[in-house]
Amino acid sequence: MRRSTPLTFWIRAVEAAALAVAVCFSLGATDASSRFNDLGHRLMCTCGCAQLLGECNHVGCPESGREREELKTAIAAGKSDKEILDWFAAKYGATVLAAPTTQGFDLVAWIAPFAVFGAALVGTVLLVRRWSVGKTQAAAGADAASADPAERARLEQIRRETDSGGDGGY
């Protein structure tokens, strides 16, 4: 019988975990959804309370009751989410939508955060790499200059002593 190497053990472990995850994920595919609840959290109450329609709780709110009825009617009529949101935006104005759309200038609202994050991430990685390369080259120069084996041993000892996992603290 062929002996299992550490690599094959880890591959099998990852396969088993992936299989378990896939099985469990598929278990959730039968839950019913509530479009009313979902859409109610994508629309605003128009009474000026700055709350989501699905969460507006003003006693005697003049708007939320009517809006909810309109939403129920639209869902019962079999309209798609987009059609319902467009209908509300046409009737109450763009501010009835709880988030910017993905069209026109509104799209900038969605793109800017990810663009900034991506640019900052790439910038940081490039910066760190540039610094590391500079440091490595400087270290190589220093190594060449100090060909003394005793000096090298001393540097290696310092590196070993300072390279302990999790040390350094806050």
Binding site: A17, A20, V21, C24, F25, S26, L27, G28, A29, T30, D31, A32, S33, H41, R42, M44, G48, C49, A50, Q51, L52, E55, C56, N57, V59, G60, G93, A94, T95, V96, L97, A98, A99, P100, G104, F105, D106, A109, W110, A112, P113, F114, V116, F117, A120, T124, V128, W131, S132, G134, K135, T162, D163, S164, G165, G166, D167, G168, G169, Y170
Partner: protein, 687 residues
Amino acid sequence: MAAFGSFALLIALALAAYNLLAGSLALRLIATKQPTAVSPERLADTARRAGIASFVAVTAAVFALVWSVFTNDFSLTYILEHSNRALPAAYKFSALWSGQEGSLLLWAWLLAAYGFVLRLTHKTDVKLYAYAGTILAGVQAFFLAILCFAAPPFALFQGAVPEDGNGLNPLLQYPEMVIHPPMLYLGYVGFSVPFAFALGALMMRYPGERWIKVTRVWTMVTWMFLTCGIFLGMHWAYAVLGWGGYWGWDPVENASFMPWLTGTAFLHSVMMQEKKGMMKSWNVWLIFSTFLLTLLGTLLTRAGLVSSVHAFAQSSIGTWFVVFMGIVLAVCIFTYILQRSHLKSEHQLESLVSRESSFLFNNLVLLTACFVILWGTLFPILSEYVEGSKVTVGAPFYNRVAVPIGLFLLFLTGVGPLLPWRATSLRAIRRNFVLPSIALWAAVIVCLVAGVRPWKDGALDAGNFYALVAFALSAGVLTAILSEFFRGARVIAKQTGHNLVASAWLLTRRNTRRYGGYIVHIGVVVIVVGLAGSAFNRNVESEMALHDRISIGPYTLVQVGATQDSNANYDSEYALLDVYKDGKKQFQMTPEKRVYQPTGQPQTMVAIHSVPEWDLYVVYEGTNPDTGQPIIKAFLNPLVGWIWAGLVVLVLGTLVALVPALSPATAAVRVPARTPPAEPALKGGIA
């Protein structure tokens, strides 16, 4: 009292202005070493004393306003608009910050109090404190000028003085409102101090990094207050607004969160400067930005630029803030350009996978989160400017954009402390990351088996997916932190023979800063678990006649009565609901609706039953006008209690980190002096 208060504010302004001008002149003379008739050191000391005196003067003004509230002096417009005779005593204190003028006075007073402590402890580093005190005096002068000329709290009511006042906003008549604003303001205002130290240190080209050590306590205390203020605000929103949530991404909430994010970034990256002499420019700008964001937050909410359910006080002081922010920014940029050669890094990063780079990425994520929130808050204004029409940027936007960023930050919270300084070897990664990874995947499987399904009807359910990721990451991060404690405690246990718990305690005492930080991270994990619970909130709403019942989760609520009550401050009506679980009566809840006198403003008083698994949260929404029956809305909010418990852990960790670390034990041993050698021997035995 009005005249006394106004006069006290004028005196305070004059003293702060003297502190600013005389302090600046003295520091200039000291820097240029010009010979003068008056000793610049003495001049600087008079400036410092003027700063101390300004605190006394502002305190007198605060006393005058509080006195006026308690004596129902409705000749003052502010008291007339924010108090009434029937207002309970504790809420009379709240009246101090319930309006524009009062809250600015509170701001000025807290700033003066911080300045008072700073100026009293000037001997720590006389020159640095002189710079910081002078800069702080500039900020004080700005707020006092607003109080004297733009938003005077002692303005007199024109015409016949009414018998009673308009009363306090009902939303503010809640116990937490007595402590939430002062706490938040302590945080907001407190960031002026590290700002003053940073700017002062840059102006004087402070040698070394000692100024960071000096300001560390100030920064941490300020950060702790801001954190507490934000969470108290969340709890207030949860218990008072009655919509079942605690964070609505409201502009006022966002305004407090932004400086918290940059302040948190500063607390992390400043360690790089202390330990490695790196990121000096970055840190200076982080603290400048934090201070500017506190001003921006005030501008956004006070000037009415954005609408908010929390904006209790709005007026036209926006211009003052815009001008002041412009001046502050100009001074910061000018000083930075002039002194930037002083901020050169002493070291550079060696590896992409190291403790240093984890701090860098942590800062990157925190600042991105800050940008996202600022962007979302300002986008409606931008959209109106560009398109001519406003849009709403509400919770769906932030949930989609900010939540993934927050989860990435949580990931870094676990990874960062496991990476060594300088560079990481593969062996170290294997040793440190195996256990957290196992915990993470185990949590995924447990959650999936327990019913946390990221898919619904064949499509991704974002709420559940994020909750699953949050639970899994929390398990990984918690394991990583606990394994750090375990590793250190095991070494101490070997050395001392103590058990692991005692060793962990000793470990923490020996490096309070590091392990206090870990406890803060544990608090963050607990909070994240609580926040993730919101993905499983449910609610039910029903009109309930006598003996009607509604069920939610394991609970059944039965209406056993609806009644009314009245006192001088408000009229109330409430329902009596017996709560059953497994067929047995457990407790009774009394959700209430109040109508406050004299304004007639309604307010819900939510009934909350909290257990570790969830909160049963019941709202009395009023009565159906047709049937006269009460309408009850019940929520079952899982894990909410964990958020408040996490705050306690977080504060505890901060306090631990503030305590000085235990010094290594030393003992003096008496050693007899050697007998001096004989003289001839010293002289080489010359006979």
